[in-house]
């Protein structure tokens, strides 16, 4: 569709004219400018909702909201075209079969072996071994090898040595969805562990010997403590209500040596609404400070984040300081349980704060333990009531921790944002379906690629320059301040206002410091080389040796000019009064700045978030234009290079 306008949310003046394309996998908007032809690509899988707004004199507005919080406002001149686009997008954004998803057509031009290697990058067996199991207290259990006991669990889980197959099967019958207690994290220093399950089907008075034995087995696997905590992450009221449905929670009277604890985290519906409200605040045009803060408070979002964090802190403390094992569950043990177990693990073990470790953590507690990615993030068209930002909340908890402990994580904010992006993008196969069983049935690993390999390949973009494994923040457990601490929770504009560049600090400290580090390293290497050469020269005492040592060793001198401020930033609209004035400044003011952002060099690494993978997919032969950088080496959105970095590394 031609002559479509793309509006800017913050500055209604900045509307761009261009052409809209719909392909099998993307919506693409290409600007009309002769030089620049900036492209905005949106994956269908990212589309969360499409809103057709009232036709105005200028055309028919269409609002596309994405799961990665990008909001695209288009104005299509003809009503009929707008309607067609609308209908098409509705269909395209709601795939019915898995095969429709992008990951099945995405082609990064790797061979079969590379694809396989990619999937092997994260190996959970290795991880459990690293933790220290199997050992005298824990063993691997294959009772579920054909998913016969619990179809949302993986084929292999770890259970206490004293838990026989009989106990496990018996316990699984007493747990919602058959999700029996299994090991999530083992602390080899003190044998304390974090186990996870779903709620017991205890109703008001039902008991199950095997389930009680299961919990005893967990206790016995930790000789250092004579009790375990059982943490129910639901609000007490909800848990009690579940009893009427024949479910519920563990009665301390029936289970010997447990200390039961509620930690009220709200359910998926509350969280869905909370996010909705917060996004509404983000969409306000020119909000006052008051609108923003009240809106944020009313959404309750940060309160929920804090609740998850508090739960993780409680469990980490129990394990690290008290040396007591914890069994965590919620209702079905695949949402709040996953959040809380992974936060606790992150606090406890510095390994999970490394890039590789974080991937492992997500594979373990989210992917292998059957978090329902398809239902929660809408891979396929499904029940809207199942949609909920569960993993988004976990990712935000990580970010909040990164802000409190800037030296403690090997990866940076961009890493988190890109992971979130790809949970929704369905470009890779890691986050499809609802369980390991479903993924194996679909042969995901043979037909799609692994996100982890992709991120790992680009890991230089995801490093945190302040991280040092020998830093004090990285020895052992992290201890976030418990109280007072409300102020420690900040609004994550890097995620929720991700695409509004004007909002963020114009200069990235992370990128600058990474460049500094790289340069230091290069200089050190150069120094070494020169030192050797000097030593050699001194050895050879021949005077008439014309030493042509004047070559530039490495001309990849990174000139760290953070102040190569040809990238002038533009003022936002501070006042309505000025608009009515004839502007006497050279009117190239604004255009000049935006043109700077879109120069050829910058486009190579231009806002990758918006020009996703234009070259790397196979399904776009019919596209009449190509990504400006052309060829197969355009960094995808995951390269994380944004326009500022191009400046910093201008050599």
């Amino acid at each position: 569709v031609e002559n479509v306008r793309l509006l800017d949310r913050l500055s209604s003046r900045k509307a761009v004219l261009g052409t809209l394309y719909l392909t099998a996998t993307h919506v693409i908007f290409v600007e009309n400018g002769s030089e620049t032809r900036k492209e905005t690509w949106v994956l269908h899988s990212q589309i969360s909702s499409i809103e057709k707004q009232a036709t105005t004199a200028t055309g028919c507005p269409l609002l596309i909201r994405c799961k990665n919080f990008q909001v695209i406002q288009l104005v299509i001149p003809q009503e009929r075209d707008c309607h067609d686009v609308y209908i098409s997008l509705i269909r395209l954004a709601r795939p019915v079969k898995y095969e429709e998803l992008y990951c099945f057509s995405f082609n990064p031009k790797l061979d079969k072996e590379e694809r396989e290697q990619g999937w092997k990058l994260v190996d959970l067996n290795e991880e459990y071994n690293r933790m220290g199991v199997p050992n005298n207290y824990w063993q691997i259990c294959d009772v579920n090898r054909d998913y016969g006991v619990c179809d949302s669990y993986p084929t292999e889980v770890y259970v206490p040595k004293s838990a026989t197959a009989h106990i496990i099967v018996g316990s699984s019958k007493f747990r919602s969805r058959r999700r029996f207690p299994a090991l999530s994290y083992y602390c080899k220093d003190n044998n304390a562990s974090i186990c996870r399950s779903s709620q017991p089907l205890s109703g008001f008075s039902a008991r199950c010997l095997e389930d009680e034995q299961m919990l005893q087995a967990i206790r016995k696997a930790n000789p250092g403590s004579d009790f375990i905590y059982v943490v129910d992450t639901r609000p007490k009221l909800n848990a009690m209500a579940n009893r009427a449905a024949g479910k519920g929670y563990e009665n301390e009277d029936n289970y010997s040596n447990i200390k039961f604890q509620f930690i009220g985290i709200e359910n998926i519906h509350v969280m869905r609404n909370s996010l909705q409200k917060m996004l509404e605040v983000c969409e306000l045009k020119s909000p006052s400070m008051s609108d923003f803060l009240w809106g944020l408070e009313n959404s309750g979002w940060l309160k929920h984040i804090k609740a998850i964090m508090d739960a993780g802190i409680f469990i980490a403390k129990a394990v690290a300081e008290e040396g007591v094992s914890v069994l965590v569950h919620c209702s079905d043990g695949w949402d709040r349980t996953a959040q809380v177990c992974s936060v606790a693990s992150l606090l406890l073990d510095p390994y999970y704060r490394t890039m590789k470790g974080f991937m492992v953590l997500i594979e373990k507690d989210w992917v292998s333990f059957g978090h329902k990615f398809n239902h929660r993030y809408g891979n396929l068209d499904g029940d809207p009531k199942e949609i909920s930002p569960v993993i988004d909340q976990f990712i935000e908890c990580v970010w909040q921790l990164m802000e409190q402990f800037p030296c403690a994580f090997e990866f940076n904010e961009r890493f988190l944002i890109h992971i979130q992006h790809h949970i929704y993008s369905c470009q890779f196969g890691n986050f499809l379906c609802n369980s390991q069983k479903e993924r194996r049935e679909l042969k995901i690993q043979e037909r799609t690629y692994s996100l982890w390999a992709h991120l790992w390949k680009n890991r230089a973009d995801y490093l945190n320059p302040l991280y040092r494994s020998d830093h004090s923040q990285n020895q052992g457990t992290l201890h976030p301040q418990i109280a007072p601490c409300n102020f420690l929770y900040k609004f994550w504009s890097g995620m929720y206002n991700r695409f509004e560049k004007g909002l963020h600090p114009r200069q990235s400290i992370t990128d600058y410091l990474m460049a500094v580090k790289e340069e230091t390293q290069q200089l050190e290497e150069e120094l070494e080389v020169l030192g050797e050469r000097l030593a050699n020269l001194q050895k050879s005492q021949l005077g008439d040796n014309k030493v042509k040592s004047k070559q530039q060793d490495q001309s990849k001198q990174l000139r760290l000019s953070t102040s190569n401020n040809s990238l002038a930033n533009t003022p936002q609209e501070y006042s309505n009064d000025l608009k009515s004035f004839p502007s006497w400044s050279p009117s190239q003011g604004d255009e000049e700045d935006s043109a700077l952002i879109l120069t050829q060099d910058n486009l190579k690494s231009s806002d990758p978030d918006l020009s996703a993978n234009s070259d790397q997919e196979s399904g776009v032969e019919d596209l009449s234009c190509r990504s400006p950088s052309g060829g197969g080496c355009l960094p995808s959105e995951d390269s994380g290079k944004d326009s500022d970095e191009a400046i910093f590394l201008a050599g």
């Binding site: 803060l293 800037p406 007072p484 200069q507 400290i509 230091t520 102040s563 930033n569």
Partner: protein
């Protein structure tokens, strides 16, 4: 950019030829200027009843007046006190923290101050027009705007030396009544009539700029905290009294030491410099969206939040830069 106090138009719309001539000569033939009045249109109008007022359009035809009300005086002090209270309230649940933060209105004041300073800067830089800033007295919100606008516009004001010069010029010598304004700070129950944290508001705005442009200011948060401390209680005479006349009468220069002399000693300077600084010759335009304006934790939570990990991070940054 010029600053003054309000014209004494009064209820009878008095005129003053000399004033009109003065403002007339500033502008070239056909050129237009802006007057940024830091009072609301209504407040400015009401000021006429007590002898003050605004510049009537007819007498100052080349000037266009814009009103940007900025809070000062008692309400601003209340705002400050409320914020400090909210920060140190241990019983405050997450449910209510943002609401309390909001009802102190402090961040709204920061937003308004930044917006107005940006407006002044925009007039000069984008419209290439001259700007006159005044409120009522010309000693509070006026100085806030002019000083902040210069930090935004002028790279030399962002250097350590330049910033000190700016403070000397736009706050101290311009006659901001420090003695009256910075008497007791936030915890005191005595609500003095003349007390108001304008200078703190200015420092907060500068901090917001440093957060949005981490490479563009030669100094760091430490300097701003130090200035805050010294404005209220100091071993040095720099912030004493209310104006140059009083300082002269009290023989401040003869009997006290200058804060600048202390801060500029090499050992002290080291602590104040921003390791990320790199001269930025351009104008820095901050975002004044609510998401971009944050609570200055380093000041308001200085004694409440653990700073260890953040200090370590800064030490790491310093180390990385120095190694290079």
């Amino acid at each position: 950019m010029l600053r003054s106090s309000q014209p004494l138009t009064g209820p009878n719309r008095k005129r003053c030829r000399e004033d009109e001539t003065l403002l007339g000569t500033i502008l070239d033939e056909g050129e237009r200027g802006f007057i940024i009045d830091t009072r609301s249109a209504q407040a400015a109008k009401q000021a006429r009843m007590t002898g003050g007022g605004t510049e009537p359009k007819s007498s100052y035809p080349q000037w266009r007046r814009l009103h940007r009300p900025l809070e000062r005086g008692r309400p601003l002090q209340e705002s400050f006190a409320k914020l400090v209270e909210a920060c140190s309230d241990p019983s405050l649940s997450m449910d209510r923290w943002l609401g309390r933060l909001e009802s102190s209105r402090w961040l709204s004041h920061v937003k308004a101050a930044l917006s107005t300073a940006c407006l002044a800067a925009q007039c000069m830089d984008r419209e290439e027009a001259k700007v006159l800033v005044h409120g009522a007295e010309g000693t509070d919100t006026t100085l806030l705007v002019t000083a902040l606008a210069q930090v935004i516009l002028d790279p030399s004001c962002r250097t350590l030396a330049g910033f000190q010069g700016l403070l000397e010029r736009e706050w101290i010598q311009a006659g901001h009544p420090f003695h009256l304004r910075c008497a007791h700070s936030a915890y005191s129950h005595a609500r003095l009539k003349q007390e108001a944290p304008l200078f703190l508001l200015f420092l907060d705005c500068v901090w917001q700029l440093s957060r949005q442009f981490p490479f563009s200011l030669e100094f760091g948060e430490q300097l701003l905290l130090s200035l805050f401390d010294n404005a209220y209680a100091s071993a040095y005479g720099t912030f004493l009294c209310n104006n140059e006349k009083e300082r002269s009468l009290c023989k401040v220069k003869e009997s006290t030491h200058s804060l600048w002399a202390w801060l500029n000693r090499p050992e002290e300077q080291q602590k104040l410099l921003n390791p990320l600084y790199s001269h930025n010759a351009l104008v820095i335009w901050p975002s004044v969206e609510p998401q971009s304006i944050q609570l200055w934790q380093g000041l308001f939570l200085r004694w409440i939040r653990p700073s260890q990990h953040l200090d370590e991070a800064w030490a790491e940054i310093q180390r990385l830069v120095e190694e290079n």
